[in-house]
Symmetry: C2
Subunit: 332 residues, 2 copies
């Protein structure tokens, strides 16, 4: 591997100064067509590729962004990531993908490493940090967009799902279809989404003048196995439940499996509803009633918000809120 071709090599070969080469590369127009073409030719034959890091040092802008998710293997976040990456790509940015593993220490560590890499901005999904710690960890970053989380800061925007309204729709629908004893698998205790969805559930019940015991709500790990064990725990104690609202679709799939093991038929014996409408939700048996969150679109929106902040044009952009839609399928 011979030494890398630098701008100096190009300049020498084309018999111009560094500056002129730099101008050609940066699309500046103040270069005569002749020289420009000559330089472009030299760049081509030499196979010159400008160094992003050198440029980054000089300009204080790296053209890189960070995307922090709890787990990229979770279809929810891989959908968001796809949307976000797509927009970043079309705008010429590269994206660091980081898995926080729902671990606050790792989250802080990641935020620091992204700072060392001098990202121009970042999107942080489902942070598990306390407000103060989050503000602290983010303080070194000029621009950030939070996903499903809000924080008081000028430079930080949010892209949100209105979880509460979604949960209200879901609960109201179950009530309207005659269900009265509705339990909830509420997700991780520290989850903002979980809290909001729980609020919605309670609000809808209250609006229907229905009071249910808090025993019907239990937390769970947001995964298929988490849903399965939580559902069997809950149902073994409260066998009279006729519906279950789940933190998300993965949990709901687990609940379906638990019902199968308990020989409860869905939706006859018990209705199961999820949240998010991830790709598998329409493919399981029975297909899941759920609340649809436009994953990819939200990823795109978050990235647009971030890039607008960075470019400073539309820095007056407000937070983006998405309203989930009820998707009725056979599980209810």
């Amino acid at each position: 591997m011979s030494k890398r071709v630098t701008m100096a090599d190009v300049a020498r070969e084309a018999d111009v100064s560094l500056m002129t080469v730099s101008r050609v590369i940066n699309q500046a127009d103040s270069v005569s067509d002749g020289t420009r073409q000559r330089i472009l030719d030299v760049i081509d034959t030499l196979g010159y590729r400008p160094s992003g890091i050198a440029r980054g040092l000089a300009t204080q802008r790296t053209g890189t962004l960070g995307l922090v998710v709890p787990d990229i293997a979770n279809p929810f976040f891989s959908g968001v990531a796809r949307g976000a990456e797509q927009i970043a790509y079309t705008e010429g940015y590269n994206v660091f993908l980081c898995n926080s593993e729902e671990d606050t220490a790792r989250e802080v560590d990641i935020l620091q490493s992204l700072e060392e890499k001098r990202v121009d901005g970042l999107i942080l999904c489902s942070s598990r940090l306390e407000d103060d710690d989050l503000a602290q960890a983010l303080s070194a970053h000029a621009f950030a967009v939070l996903f499903n989380r809000r924080i008081d800061s000028d430079s930080i925007r949010s892209t949100m799902v209105d979880d509460e309204s979604g949960a209200i729709k879901l609960t109201r629908y179950l009530l309207s279809s005659g269900r009265r004893r509705i339990g909830m698998l509420a997700g991780p205790p520290a989850s903002h989404s979980g809290h909001q969805r729980l609020r919605g559930y309670r609000a809808a019940l209250a609006a229907a003048d229905l009071t249910l015991s808090d025993d019907l709500v239990i937390p769970c790990t947001p995964s298929v196995t988490g849903g399965m064990s939580a559902a069997s725990d809950l149902l073994s104690v409260h066998s009279q439940l006729d519906a279950l609202i789940c933190y998300n679709d993965l949990v709901a799939v687990g609940a379906l499996q638990a019902c199968a093991e308990l020989e409860l038929s869905v939706p006859e014996d018990i209705a199961i509803a999820g949240f998010d409408d991830i790709p598998i939700s329409g493919l399981v048996t029975p297909p899941l009633t759920t609340c649809s969150v436009p994953l990819q679109t939200m990823g795109e929106a978050a990235m647009r918000l971030l890039l607008n902040q960075i470019s400073g044009c539309n820095s007056t952009d407000l937070d983006t809120v998405f309203y989930p839609e009820l998707v009725v399928r056979a599980s209810t």
Copy 2:
């Protein structure tokens, strides 16, 4: 936002030279404990964070890697990405995630942008480029690991699934369970995996002295909808098929749906088998018989291979080959 704290600020504040600060940061031992502690304190109170790009410029190593996948929303690749990112994180690297969208032009573009970012190495999954173009696009990168693809080069290793043996296992199993008219939804024509799986299918049939028309093999887009339309196309012409091997599980799920629409019951009328064993495969109805590929483990292996190459220690590492395992479920 005040100006960033630099090493010079730390040096001045601690009343030492730049060099000493640099030594402390890089763990060099030739610094007295007193000075070291004083510097660490200053770093802490000033909130100094070394600039990765400046360091990258000076050392020619960025501590960043590239991961190129066709589509991160595909559970196959998000599994791989999770494994790869996990290893990279523990070794102190950051990973650029890029979606090639199965588009060769975009793939080349991505490889160039990763070169400009001066990544230390990259993992490239399921490249759709011709061998020559691939070698060309990779030539600027010191280290690369290919996923499910081999190429003749000293600096390029591969992590492979033995697709052929997997397809043989699958086909042999179907034959042993009495299926005789086995069709195949073979995936994208340009897919290396597709070719190998097709080879395995043919080899197993040949070994059983069974000759089937090539009409029973058709290409398809590697998605649920692709599988659905391909399956209904194939079955509308060849209604006598008693089994279908699918390029991957997504395609198989599509095939299941096509069968449902055609009112064919699985597995009574026709057996459906997939490939990869992605998370949803055990959750659909009926659960899919498939060939299990350890996604996350493969991602980890690919990343280890890459990091070993980069560090130069085990540069004699061979390619890693994973043998898929037959997973029999109710769809066959």
